[in-house]
């Protein structure tokens, strides 16, 4: 498969034909269905999706953190020329934390409650670098300061539960950055935070790319967050990629009915208030009950005959769309609405 049209020249991470399934009593459940994507050097890629879309499992697969013995992971995850899926656990452990770091939605579960923040960052530094305890502590305090934590030396002596949510998230980012990773995977890093704190954390992630030259995979359900800091967007639905492209294009001209619906269902902060919010009927399917053909088809206003088959990713310039409406050109929604879904006309 040739590289994506929109991917930057220098590729850091290249995920090819990744599938993740779990064996269960009810047979094999497919969570991720054959997805490919890449992340360029110094790029912020947002992966957007709702619950059950497989966005978090994708990131866990990249980190090789799926430890369930019933998991079946297929495909390849090429990072700097090496296939992560073929590394032995020791090599992977060496890479994890040093080269690829991850931050989670809830820092409380990602940190141990029984050691201080400073101790935890220190340990992470010493696991990957030959530094004395004292030097590692100094570096930890320095990092906490860089993350905008007031009185960092004092904060380093605190336990996770003694810090506020925003401060904990900063401490976790400090820990993730302690070894200058080339790739940071941030899984819903601001979902549990208030908007004013969210803005600060997003600014921090942006700075990371600027100051450290890191690439970022930002996993979120929030199109607002996507609009604020990403370069490229990949929209996932039911374990597949439904749309991908540079952020300005995807947000200005969403070309998959799901992306369109997602954007339209956000109440606007400016301009006319719609009498009714355009909403997508139903809810995202559970992995055990995914429909045949196009996974979005049961909720789609624009459903037509070909949708019984699974659409490939059609390419138009830098934008890719998995919808038969986009087979020849990007869909013109006013036109499509007029001919296919007269009832849905707003």
């Amino acid at each position: 498969m040739p590289a994506e049209p929109s991917a930057p020249a220098e590729t850091l991470l290249d995920v090819r034909n990744l599938s993740v399934s779990f064996r269960s009593e009810k047979g094999v459940i497919r969570i991720i269905e054959d997805i490919s994507f890449s992340v360029g050097a110094r790029e912020i890629l947002s992966i957007v999706g709702e619950s059950g879309s497989g966005k978090s499992i994708t990131s866990l697969a990249v980190m090789r953190l799926i430890t369930d013995p019933n998991a079946i992971i297929e495909g390849s995850i090429i990072y700097k020329g090496r296939d992560l899926l073929k590394l032995d656990p020791r090599e992977m452990r060496d890479l994890r934390g040093r080269d690829i770091a991850m931050i989670f939605q809830d820092p409380m579960t990602a940190m141990t409650p029984v050691y201080t923040i400073g101790w935890q960052i220190e340990e992470q530094i010493r696991a990957h670098q030959k530094l004395s305890r004292r030097a590692a502590r100094a570096r930890a305090v320095e990092l906490l300061g860089e993350m905008g934590i007031p009185a960092p030396a004092r904060a380093a002596t605190r336990y996770p539960h003694q810090l506020s949510g925003g401060m904990r998230q900063r401490a976790m980012i400090a820990m993730a950055l302690s070894c200058n990773p080339s790739l940071l995977i941030a899984d819903e890093p601001t979902t549990a935070l208030d908007v004013t704190v969210q803005a600060q954390i997003l600014e921090l992630i942006q700075r990371l790319r600027r100051d450290f030259g890191s690439s970022v995979i930002l996993i979120t359900h929030d199109m607002g967050v996507v609009g604020t800091i990403s370069d490229r967007v990949m929209v996932m639905y039911a374990g597949t990629v439904v749309e991908r492209g540079p952020k300005p294009m995807v947000l200005a001209q969403p070309s998959h009915p799901y992306t369109l619906g997602l954007l339209r269902s956000i109440p606007p902060m400016h301009g006319e208030r719609p009498f009714r919010l355009p909403s997508i009927p139903g809810s995202p399917p559970a992995p055990t009950a995914r429909p045949a053909g196009c996974p979005f088809q049961p909720r789609c206003d624009f459903r037509f005959e070909p949708c019984g088959n699974r659409p490939p990713l059609f390419r138009h310039g830098a934008q890719e769309v998995a919808c038969f409406l986009a087979a020849d050109h990007l869909p013109d929604w006013d036109h499509e609405r007029a001919i296919r879904a007269p009832g849905a006309a707003a």
């Binding site: 949510g165 908007v195 004013t196 803005a199 359900h221 609009g227 800091i229 947000l251 619906g261």
Partner: protein, 335 residues
């Protein structure tokens, strides 16, 4: 406050404190000043949005308004009747008229009971209805919240988040209340489902003439649903007025900062274009002197640290608690 229009709910100078900790633990007993001198009138048929960040007291206020919490000071009247000091038993007949919808549809429904029984519970507790009557009402309610009557026999775990929230709403409106306090009813839902539930709230209001107090941290949801909006910070209302006025030309610096922080799906969005509020809200156990926002306020002056600003009328339909309210247009540069 003009008292000519009859209020659905009238809250005057409500103060609520919580004791946390224990004298046997380090730190000892501390007092959380959850609400300080909060006054709010809710008029029939309107939707008042309560917004603010976590810990600002919006949920506490919601619960105090329904007297789910007792209050330490102030007065609350529901439809002209003083309910400040009523006992829970005395409140019970009034409960049919004021209901609450909770954030988490996963934990607010008993997993061991069938949906039909869950929704029927208020009908059986309050009314002297016959069983046939209860069953009719159940069907009616399911239709109102767009769920199939077949679902009545199922258990909560068989439903998606959006459906569970519909069940929670059906339960709240079962007794035909006049007032519904909804505490973050859509924040736990997927975005595509959120819009459905917001629409449902608006439909029900129209059909049943409900009055809402809608608590949310998401400004765009509040903008969609609320006729008036109250912005809270650290236990007090800092600005209240018509939603359009408050959100389009905020007068309080905190309102302005909050609006600026809302991320929008803007194709050319950029974090640097925002005014970012520094720091985090101070602890409500030890609120700052004077204006409680002065420690983070970009335009704070000496007076702000000393003198508590009162909520005063700024222009028709809006009141603000700030010594130096912003003039309209001052927060341009956003959007």
């Amino acid at each position: 406050m003009s008292g000519t229009r009859p209020t659905m709910l009238h809250a005057a100078s409500v103060t609520k404190r919580f004791r946390v900790g224990s004298r046997f633990r380090t730190g000892g007993v501390q007092i959380v000043h959850a609400l300080t001198d909060v006054s709010l009138d809710v008029f029939p048929g309107e939707t008042v949005g309560l917004v603010g960040e976590s810990g600002c007291g919006k949920s506490t206020l919601g619960r105090c308004l329904l007297r789910l919490y007792s209050i330490d000071d102030g007065r609350i009247a529901f439809q002209g009747k003083d309910i400040t000091n009523l006992s829970q038993r005395e409140l019970r007949p009034l409960r049919a008229e004021m209901q609450m919808v909770f954030q988490d549809p996963y934990s607010s429904l008993n997993p061991r009971r069938r949906v039909g029984d869950l929704i029927a519970e208020p009908l059986r507790v309050h009314g002297k209805r016959s069983e046939a009557d209860v069953q009719n009402r159940l069907r009616e309610l399911m239709e109102l919240v767009n769920l199939s009557p077949d679902f009545l026999q199922r258990f909560p775990h068989e439903f998606s988040g959006g459906q569970r929230q519909r069940i929670g709403i059906a339960r709240a409106i079962a007794m035909s209340p006049r007032l519904v306090v909804a505490d973050e009813p859509v924040s736990a839902l997927d975005v595509s489902v959120q819009a459905q539930i917001v629409n449902l709230f608006m439909d029900l209001q129209q059909k049943l003439g409900l009055t809402y107090v809608f608590i949310a941290h998401d400004l765009s949801v509040v903008r969609q649903i609320a006729t008036r909006t109250a912005v809270m910070y650290l236990g007090g209302i800092v600005e209240i007025g018509d939603t359009d006025t408050v959100l389009h030309s905020p007068a309080h610096p905190y309102t302005a900062a909050l609006i600026s922080a809302v991320p929008e799906p803007d194709p050319h969005g950029n974090i640097r274009a925002r005014t970012i509020l520094r720091g985090e809200p101070p602890s409500p156990t030890n609120p700052p002197s004077g204006c409680r926002f002065h420690t983070r306020c970009p335009i704070a002056q000496e007076r702000c640290g000393v003198e508590v600003p009162v909520l005063r009328p700024l222009d028709p339909g809006r009141r603000v608690a700030c010594h130096f309210p912003l003039q309209s247009g001052e927060v341009a540069g956003h959007g």
